[in-house]
């Protein structure tokens, strides 16, 4: 009895699926495979970005993080917040206590006065987090604290996006197809900017890094657009994963210990079973 019910149930599901399959095949015959401008023209092969923090032994390059922080402060910070990051954690970039205090003090924090309880503006302290950024224009600039973890491709995506703005007129993909010829309706609307690395090709953010020397680097590194984009991507890896160095170091020691313990465990296993194996 159970087998008859079972076979009938199986045939019911199979019939329902064949029905769906039939209609979907007819539909597919009419429409063909999905062909959208995003599918054909969004670039998924990101530009290559080598960072000191990559790999099992990866560590942050403090000088690069400081340069990236300068790019954030002078360019990104006018629209993008960094709300999960505390000023005190900037010590990890190689700043000493006085420098951290000076950086924090440049910020204005709206907080309760400990004596009166009134909310007032005061200079920032190392214990504060980066304040919210009020953006007056259209669109919603995302908070950047976690951006390299919140996008496919991480830091390489940030770097590709920042340096990937292109002119839509005459833009061709890797197959040599021209976007506006294939999709004449997909013209970038006014107020948006064409960028083949962005998920829908049209991003609200205007190209933020445009000229060499836009940010002055204190360590004398030439501030080319490419260099600034790399540095800020490296900095945003740190804001998203401040634990990275500690994680790598702990992991390395831990894996060494586990390898040793596993070999010992295997040897004792062989020893225990010695009298039960073989003839």
């Amino acid at each position: 009895m159970i087998r008859i019910i079972s076979i009938l149930t199986g045939l019911f599901f199979a019939a329902a699926l064949l029905w769906s399959l039939l209609w979907d095949t007819i539909q597919l015959g009419k429409d063909g495979l999905p062909h959208t401008v995003e599918k054909a023209f969004v670039k998924h092969d990101l530009k290559k970005l080598d960072l000191a923090s990559d790999g099992v032994f990866g560590k942050f390059d403090e000088a690069q993080l400081q340069r990236g922080f300068a790019v954030y402060q002078n360019v990104c910070a006018s629209c993008h917040s960094l709300k999960h990051v505390s000023y005190r954690s900037l010590a990890a970039l190689g700043y000493n206590e006085a420098e951290v205090k000076a950086i924090a003090a440049k910020a204005t924090i709206n907080a309760a006065d400990p004596l009166t309880g009134e909310f007032k503006d005061r200079p920032g302290q190392p214990s504060d987090k980066f304040p919210p950024v009020v953006y007056a224009g259209a669109g919603h600039p995302p908070d950047l604290s976690l951006i390299t973890k919140a996008r496919h491709g991480g830091a390489a995506y940030v770097y590709s996006l920042l340096t990937g703005y292109a002119n839509q007129a005459g833009y061709k993909n890797h197959e040599g197809k021209e976007l506006l010829k294939e999709f004449p309706d997909a013209k970038t609307p006014d107020g948006l900017h064409f960028n083949p690395y962005f998920a829908n090709l049209n991003i609200a953010m205007a190209p933020p890094l445009t000229a060499e020397g836009q940010v002055t680097y204190s360590d004398g590194t030439p501030a080319t657009v490419d260099q600034m984009a790399k540095d800020v991507a490296a900095f945003l890896v740190w804001t998203a994963e401040p634990e990275l160095e500690q994680r790598h170091q702990t992991g390395f020691v831990w894996m060494g210990f586990m390898l040793f313990a596993t070999v010992l465990g295997y040897m004792s296993y062989r020893n225990i079973w010695a009298d039960k194996k073989g003839h």
Binding site: I7, L21, D24, K149, E243, G251, M258, G265
Partner: protein
């Protein structure tokens, strides 16, 4: 029950004698996972995953309880408190990455454990109850993992809650009120997050309880083995301690190496970037996908695209997704072959490997976008999934001619000469 030749617990220290007479807890442990439990000597490494699954449950409970000390179950603070754990709590990143990757590791280990059960016919008499309890554990794990994924209140958390509770909305008549009752509102909100947090804390302990029943039920007939031949004599078994404690023990090291490689060096490899974006009810992610361990079932859900007879397409998808697991409950009665191990079932074995490939394909499709040609392939793969369990298994198990089985476990390990020699030694 135990075999007559099993060691008896004999406490030597007077304190343990005193303790054993008043509360035989040491005796219970000795008979469960010590020298008193006789286990077939021929178990291969597929028999290690039950122990490893128990180990994963412990990792999840320990990391989870500590995480709950720092987490805030309120939509206004959930995302930020998760970041607080990652940045400001000492070793918080290790707890959180350990818990997230621990869930993935738990599922990986349990899938291999289930694979073992399928291939070696561990569900067959007299072990049906172990199998049924195992399916209950798996269902509880899925519920727990789903609710845990909602807690960080990122984009995927929110939309996963929306999609999964939406499934209940497709049930005729009671669907909408049921969905609102589950969510505590019309859409996922603070009430949803609060109850999911509460249940996510509770369910692991329910799982622990069912695991104890699962092990209890195991100790009635004792462990199965790769030949599927029952234990016949003392030479067929070895005591759990030290033999299988030693074998399970070193594979814990192996497991930890793989798990730790994810935890320390690629902690986000199995996650989805969208869950690092705070939940936003106004913005639907381009692709809503669950974690990888739900992909095969998600593909089954999405493969029903057309209404059929009186059934709504969405309802069919929901029924099929639950049926895909519920059908496992009936497996001991659908598979009537008296031979347990697929090693000796040439015809069944072929269909079984097709099923394994089929589920891997479904897994890939569940993570892919819901568009052609993926939907067509998942329709074909889902057809095979149901035909396998509901039609092929019952028919194959009654027409198949199995290969000859070894006479005993000892013979399968030592060969017939070796077994005879052992016999002669007495």
């Amino acid at each position: 029950m135990s075999f007559p030749w099993a060691n008896e617990y004999k406490p030597s220290h007077p304190l343990m004698v005193w303790f054993d007479q008043r509360l035989p807890l040491p005796r219970l442990v000795y008979n469960a996972v010590g020298g008193g439990y006789e286990v077939p000597r021929n178990l291969n490494y597929f028999w290690n995953f039950g122990f490893l699954a128990g180990f994963c449950l412990v990792i999840q409970i320990v990391t989870g309880v500590i995480l709950a000390m720092h987490y805030g179950g309120d939509t206004s603070v959930a995302f930020n408190s998760t970041e607080h754990i990652m940045r400001d709590v000492n070793w918080g990143w290790m707890l959180r990455y350990g818990h997230a990757n621990g869930a993935a590791a738990f599922f990986a280990v349990v899938y291999l454990h289930i694979f073992r059960g399928f291939y070696y016919g561990s569900y067959k008499a007299p072990r049906e109850m172990i199998w049924l309890l195992g399916v209950v554990i798996f269902l509880l794990m899925m519920a727990t993992a789903f609710m845990g994924y909602v807690l960080p209140w990122g984009q995927m958390s929110y939309w996963a809650a929306q999609v999964i509770t939406g499934l209940f909305g497709s049930i005729p008549l009671v669907g909408d009120p049921l969905k609102e009752w589950l969510l505590g509102g019309f859409a996922p909100g603070n009430a949803t997050l609060n109850r999911f947090f509460s249940l996510h804390f509770l369910l692991p302990f329910v799982i622990l309880g069912v695991v104890i029943l699962h092990i209890w039920a195991l100790h009635i007939p004792g462990s199965s083995n790769p030949t599927g031949v029952e234990v016949k004599s003392e030479s067929d078994t070895v005591p759990f301690y030290p033999y299988y404690v030693g074998k399970d023990g070193w594979t814990i090291g192996l497991f930890m190496l793989i798990y730790s490689a994810f935890l320390f060096f690629m902690p986000n490899a199995l996650g989805h970037p969208d869950n690092y974006i705070p939940a936003n009810p106004m913005q639907t992610p381009a692709h809503i996908v669950p974690e990888w361990y739900f992909w095969p079932f998600y593909a089954i859900l999405r493969s029903f695209t057309q209404n059929f007879l009186i059934f709504d397409a969405k309802l069919l998808g929901v029924l099929a997704m639950f049926a895909a697991i519920l059908v496992w409950f009936f497996l001991p009665w659908l598979d009537r072959s008296p031979v347990r191990s697929a090693t000796y079932r040439p015809l069944y074995r072929k269909f079984f490997w097709v099923l394994v490939i089929d589920v891997l394909i479904l897994g890939y499709l569940g993570g892919a976008p819901a568009e052609q040609p993926y939907v067509l392939i998942s329709q074909l793969a889902t057809i095979y999934y149901f035909l396998h369990f509901l039609v092929i298994v019952p028919i194959v198990s009654s027409i198949e001619r199995p290969d000859p089985l070894p006479f005993s476990i000892t013979e399968s390990v030592l060969g017939s000469d070796g077994a005879a020699k052992l016999e002669a030694q007495g």
